[in-house]
């Protein structure tokens, strides 16, 4: 048993493992990059959590995603074990920042993986058209009222800018309201409320998108870790690096 654990640890600590796992992951994603545009089934992935979607579709279309998930699990284990080993082994190293910065990058990467895992289980997206004064019932017992739709037309008669005044209540949250515009959603009870587009004829109508992305915060934390780590590594390595032979 001890031998098996030692062999597994040696496998996961190895940089060679990381290199070949990355090669494997690139292979699966590369295959997916050509399979995805050829199959209409992938359109549903925009509105369905990945793990639900995987269960609904044939392995002929999804095999590369299963392959990627398996390799990503191994990459995550490899990253975690390598980072722990580096921190234990080199805790007394003089160039402490040089040791710690790749581990900050690894932590960022693991947060981003966690974000994708959470989003793959429990994300949600829905759309509905709403008139001025109409109320929409949203998940979690939330009600959204569209009070007013604003548009700005350009000289050629096209709608150049649009916005909507909305109010939200329910879902165990205090009532909230405000103006939503492209890139300026309203967040209420874990949901994001977005205005996608509007129509003015025959009456003002807004296309409202409702989204929940439980991984978003972890992706942001991961991104911040990743950037801090890579910038520190860059500053330290750019001057130290010299020819290898």
């Amino acid at each position: 048993m001890k031998k098996i654990i030692t062999a597994m640890l040696e496998f996961f600590i190895s940089l060679r493992t990381a290199v070949w796992l990355l090669c494997g992951l690139i292979f699966f994603l590369f295959a997916g990059g050509f399979i995805m545009p050829a199959h209409e089934e992938f359109q549903a992935l925009h509105t369905t959590p990945l793990f639900t979607w995987l269960g609904d579709n044939a392995p002929g279309v999804t095999w590369w995603l299963y392959g990627s998930l398996i390799v990503l699990s191994l990459v995550a284990a490899n990253t975690l074990i390598c980072s722990i080993e580096a921190l234990i082994k080199k805790k007394s190293a003089r160039a402490w920042l040089l040791v710690i910065s790749p581990q900050i990058i690894h932590a960022g990467f693991l947060f981003i993986l966690l974000a994708h895992l959470l989003s793959s289980y429990d994300s949600f997206q829905g759309m509905a058209m709403a008139r001025e004064g109409e109320q929409l019932s949203l998940p979690g017992g939330i009600t959204m009222a569209v009070d007013r739709i604003h548009t700005v037309m350009d000289p050629r008669g096209f709608i150049r800018e649009w916005a909507a005044e909305v109010r939200c209540s329910g879902g165990g949250q205090p009532a909230a309201g405000g103006m939503i515009r492209p890139n300026e959603p309203l967040f209420h009870g874990g949901l994001g409320l977005y205005i996608k587009t509007v129509k003015v004829e025959p009456y003002p109508l807004a296309l409202i998108q409702v989204s929940r992305d439980p991984g978003a915060l972890y992706a942001l934390i991961g991104g911040i870790f990743f950037l801090i780590g890579i910038c520190t590594l860059l500053l330290l390595k750019i001057r130290r690096e010299s020819p290898q032979d």
Binding site: I26, P37, L227
Partner: protein
């Protein structure tokens, strides 16, 4: 006056080509190139980074700028710089083959996160292009200093590219309600990011150091070009031209 940026682009390319023996025409070309970009921005009232015409031109300017910066203080500077400038001239030529996109931006693109996402992406593409040129020079000259320069270009490019991906994710969250979209462009972007992650890890292994890592650095630019032009032109995606 509308064709001024085109003439300035042609003049900058001519000056780069004239910089074979002296650095002065290269600086003049860079000033002219930057001026053309600024004038185009003033013409359309925004950062000119939409569509193949403007993005290829922005990439060409980024290549020239980083080429001048990265070769600063290098011995035999012009021998390193000139092939990179040829790459910049190639992209200027390609940009002129496409019509400019002059229409106003849709509201979804009017945000700092979008502009920084695109600008950082093209900074990284430019550095990956420079790294590919340096890789080619290493294969010809076998100079270890050139290999180190390739590594530095990739490391800086990787830093910009990571920031571009993170900024793109923030923009996507504010625009579409999710930081990740299942489209070929996003997938190839991740492949590109993984490829350079592979380069940075593989270069640490004795078996991959030297020529194999240099070849990875060259091949990476082929993925850049496919991700940027191939996917945008031929596959349905959130980034289609």
């Amino acid at each position: 006056m509308e064709s001024l940026p085109v003439w300035a682009a042609l003049l900058s390319s001519f000056l780069y080509l004239a910089g074979y023996r002296k650095i002065a025409p290269v600086y003049a070309g860079l000033a002219c190139h930057g001026g053309a970009m600024a004038y185009r921005g003033l013409q359309i009232g925004r950062l000119p980074i939409i569509g193949p015409h403007d993005t290829l031109f922005f990439m060409s300017l980024s290549i020239a700028f980083f080429a001048v910066a990265i070769t600063y203080k290098q011995t035999n500077r012009l021998r390193l710089l000139y092939p990179m400038l040829l790459l910049a001239v190639l992209f200027t030529g390609l940009s002129l083959a496409y019509p400019p996109h002059d229409s106003p931006l849709p509201p979804i693109l009017k945000t700092f996160w979008f502009e920084s996402h695109v600008a950082l992406s093209f900074f990284s593409y430019a550095l990956f292009g420079i790294a590919a040129v340096l890789g080619g020079l290493y294969l010809i000259r076998q100079d270890p200093q050139v290999e180190v320069l390739q590594y530095k270009a990739i490391l800086v490019g990787y830093c910009f590219f990571s920031a571009a991906m993170i900024f793109g994710g923030i923009w996507a969250f504010y625009a579409w309600g999710t930081y990740w979209l299942w489209t070929p462009k996003e997938l190839f972007t991740v492949i590109l990011w993984l490829h350079y992650s592979l380069y940075l890890h593989a270069r640490l292994r004795p078996a991959w150091a030297g020529k194999p890592a240099v070849l990875l650095g060259i091949f990476g630019f082929a993925i850049v070009m496919f991700t940027y032009l191939g996917v945008s032109l031929f596959m349905k995606s959130s980034h289609s031209f």
